[in-house]
């Protein structure tokens, strides 16, 4: 009996300092204006986000975020759970429209075009800004149909041979062609987790997007599958801008050129990945990447 109590107590004691730090940090930053430090803006950006706020009902989830996304770069978004990085990612192709009670304000532009403009249709926008989700979510159809679906609904192809070309090219780009070429008619859901995620990437690039949003694409995968996806991301950034949300700082360091750190709905710091991980300028960033909380 006694020993049990003791462990419990010592457990509390062990966690106490960390919580203390966290509460100190929060109380300090609450009073401080949260200006983004680092270099959020780039020259000739693919996407620009100015004064973006997101509300879930009354609750503000994203607070005044300003950031640019460059061409042919991988930008990683890191931060503790619930900091709003996924919410921000979903603003970029207006996936937040599908969430009941979610409201986005501010100015988001893709190649200078305001994506919230009245004349902008969300369907072509999502064709230009593709998305890969946390959990691999292939359609319960064949591998071929999974990749072919996007080109088909957007009318990108005239005939079957063109469609087959696109499917092959997309699967090759996604590094899945060798594994999948003999089983194109088998269900995509029969693939392994990592293969499914690459199938989802192939599906996204089949409609030739300009930006690919990845929401923790490796969190459901084992290290080998993760390594493959990371390799793929490095190759894909030659053609696309990639925004990747990740929980793994190692992953952010491995795949990205720039990193953005979010904290409780604020964009705290943006900068070159090397610089962020070696020489963070903001106290919160430093606390997070050194593992003091998060």
């Amino acid at each position: 009996m006694e020993s049990l109590f003791q462990t419990a107590e010592s457990g509390i004691l062990a966690t106490a300092p960390k919580e203390k730090i966290l509460s100190e940090v929060t109380s300090k930053t609450l009073h401080k204006a949260r200006e983004t430090v680092g270099d959020p803006f780039v020259e000739n950006p693919r996407m620009t986000c100015r004064e973006v706020n997101v509300y879930y009902g009354e609750k503000k989830a994203i607070n005044n975020v300003n950031i640019d996304i460059a061409r042919h770069e991988v930008i990683a978004m890191i931060g503790p759970s619930g900091c709003g990085k996924s919410t921000f990612l979903r603003c970029l192709n207006r996936m937040n429209d599908t969430i009941e009670g979610c409201r986005v304000t501010g100015d988001i532009r893709l190649d200078g075009m305001d994506i919230h403009d009245r004349n902008v249709d969300v369907v072509p926008l999502r064709a230009r800004v593709g998305m890969v989700f946390q959990k691999p979510n292939p359609f319960p159809k064949s591998i071929f149909d999974n990749v072919a679906y996007g080109p088909k609904i957007h009318g990108l192809v005239q005939n079957k041979s063109e469609l087959e070309e696109i499917v092959e090219a997309s699967l090759k780009k996604a590094g899945l062609w060798e594994e999948a070429k003999d089983r194109l008619n088998q269900p995509g859901t029969g693939l392994s987790g990592g293969q499914q995620q690459r199938l989802c990437i192939a599906r996204a690039i089949a409609v030739s997007p300009e930006v690919i949003l990845m929401d923790e694409p490796c969190s459901a995968l084992d290290p080998i599958a993760t390594a493959k996806i990371e390799e793929l991301i490095a190759e894909l950034c030659e053609h696309y801008s990639i925004v990747i949300v990740t929980h793994s700082m190692q992953q952010a360091a491995r795949v990205s050129q720039r990193t953005a750190y979010f904290h409780l709905g604020d964009l705290i710091e943006v900068g070159k990945t090397d610089r962020i991980f070696t020489n963070p300028r903001h106290q919160l960033t430093e606390d997070y990447i050194t593992g003091r909380f998060g």
Binding site: S3, Y149, I153, T189, R203
Partner: protein, 424 residues
């Protein structure tokens, strides 16, 4: 294992272990008992229905020698000939010793009144028979049928049975000559209702049920699915949709007779649709099954994982494409199951149909949606209310037919679910 006594927590766990397992055993026993009880009741139900109904699938026939007297066929229209007289003549020639008026009546009673229609049909198909003598099996009266099936006790006093001693003697004579036989009761499956049990069949009610359910299915499935898809995928979530949802759930619980009264007031009295017809019955049953189908369809739409919707939207599918290409195919098995359960419900429904006049006594087989008709459960109700002993076994037989249809529908539901189910 090394120091079992040093960890007091484990001791506590071990002490509670027995109780936990006992609770599990108790629960499993309860479950098994419940299943057993349910199976027992089901068995009793089936046994009672089958044991009292299986004899209805057989029917008694009596062989008579009919002389198609040309003197009877003087009229141009052969159907107007006095066919009952032909049968009476043939019975009299078989039993010439019967002369008293009362006895003759008893003798003729053995043959079903429907036999004369059989002769009429025979002559209509083959007028060359006129002037010839034919050996024909005609159906016996229902009391003869009951006697041969052992439902009339010969040992009881004459005044208490519907077949008197003389009739018994005649029947025994006929049986001795091999002129009485029991064969498969084709009439039961091919004829409509009748006041004579031996002439009553289930086919009229089956056709009525078919037409009624066809109307119900072709209206309630598309309307129900469309309503469910709209409410689940497109409608904004606000107070109005909440009210609609609550009301749909309430409608599913409204007693079915209320729908019958509604149908009577709206479809028949207001719109002036023909009463006792499958079209009105089908509309009433549509109203009744709609909430069931909507609720089942919404549940199956809800069970489609949101990741599929996101995947479709994420590559730029419009909402309509998302629903049509991805959500509906995944939700379809559940929708079909719900629909078939609703249809099975409608197939067995009696009360609302009584209100729209489908309880009428209808002999003709309905040929379309606007012919007066009755349906299987109403037919069961009508027969169960009839005084003749022979209708009792007909009631059970009709229940068996209804149950077979229900089993078939459920089998189709299972088949469709398996066929369209998409696994991942």
């Amino acid at each position: 294992m090394d120091q079992p006594a040093t960890n007091p927590a484990i001791d506590k766990v071990n002490r509670g272990l027995k109780r936990r397992y006992r609770a599990e055993r108790r629960f499993r026993l309860c479950g098994a008992t419940a299943v057993f009880a349910a199976l027992c009741f089901l068995f009793i139900l089936f046994f009672s229905i089958v044991s009292s109904g299986y004899k209805a699938f057989q029917k008694t026939f009596i062989q008579i020698d009919v002389f198609f007297d040309p003197a009877e066929f003087t009229n141009e229209n052969l159907a107007t000939a006095n066919f009952p007289a032909l049968i009476k003549a043939s019975m009299s020639s078989r039993f010439p010793e019967v002369t008293a008026r009362r006895d003759k009546k008893d003798l003729y009673y053995l043959i079903s009144p429907g036999a004369s229609f059989q002769l009429m049909k025979l002559i209509k198909n083959n007028p060359a028979l006129i002037g010839q003598k034919e050996r024909i099996w005609v159906s016996a009266n229902d009391d003869v049928d009951m006697l041969l099936k052992g439902n009339i006790d010969r040992t009881r006093p004459e005044s208490e049975r519907r077949i008197n001693d003389k009739q018994l003697a005649w029947l025994d004579t006929l049986a001795g000559e091999g002129k009485i036989k029991k064969t498969f009761n084709m009439a039961f499956f091919t004829l409509g209702d009748s006041r004579e049990p031996e002439q009553a069949g289930i086919w009229g009610a089956t056709c009525g049920s078919f037409y009624t359910l066809l109307i119900t299915l072709s209206l309630s499935f598309p309307i129900g699915v469309a309503a469910a898809v709209y409410l689940e995928e497109f409608a904004p979530k606000n107070r109005w949709t909440d009210i609609i949802e609550v009301n749909i759930n309430n409608l599913a619980a409204v007693p079915s007779i209320v729908y019958g009264l509604l149908g009577l007031a709206v479809f028949i009295n207001f719109f002036g649709m023909p009463r006792s017809t499958p079209v009105v019955g089908g509309l009433v049953l549509t109203l009744m099954t709609l909430p069931i189908i909507i609720i089942a369809s919404r549940a199956s739409l809800k069970s489609v994982p949101p990741s599929i919707r996101e995947a479709a939207l994420g590559i730029g599918a419009s909402k309509m494409q998302m629903v049509a290409h991805h959500v509906l195919p995944l939700a379809l098995p559940g929708m079909l199951t719900g629909t078939i359960i609703g249809m099975a419900h409608a197939l067995g429904e009696t009360a609302p149909l009584l209100m729209v006049g489908m309880v009428a006594f209808i002999v003709d087989i309905p040929q379309g949606f606007t012919d007066p008709a009755t349906v299987l459960p109403v037919q069961i109700y009508l027969w169960s209310d009839s005084p003749e002993r022979a209708f009792m076994e007909k009631t059970s037989a009709a229940i068996m037919v209804l149950l077979v249809f229900l089993f078939l529908m459920n089998a189709v539901a299972i088949f469709l679910r398996k066929r369209f189910e998409i696994k991942w």
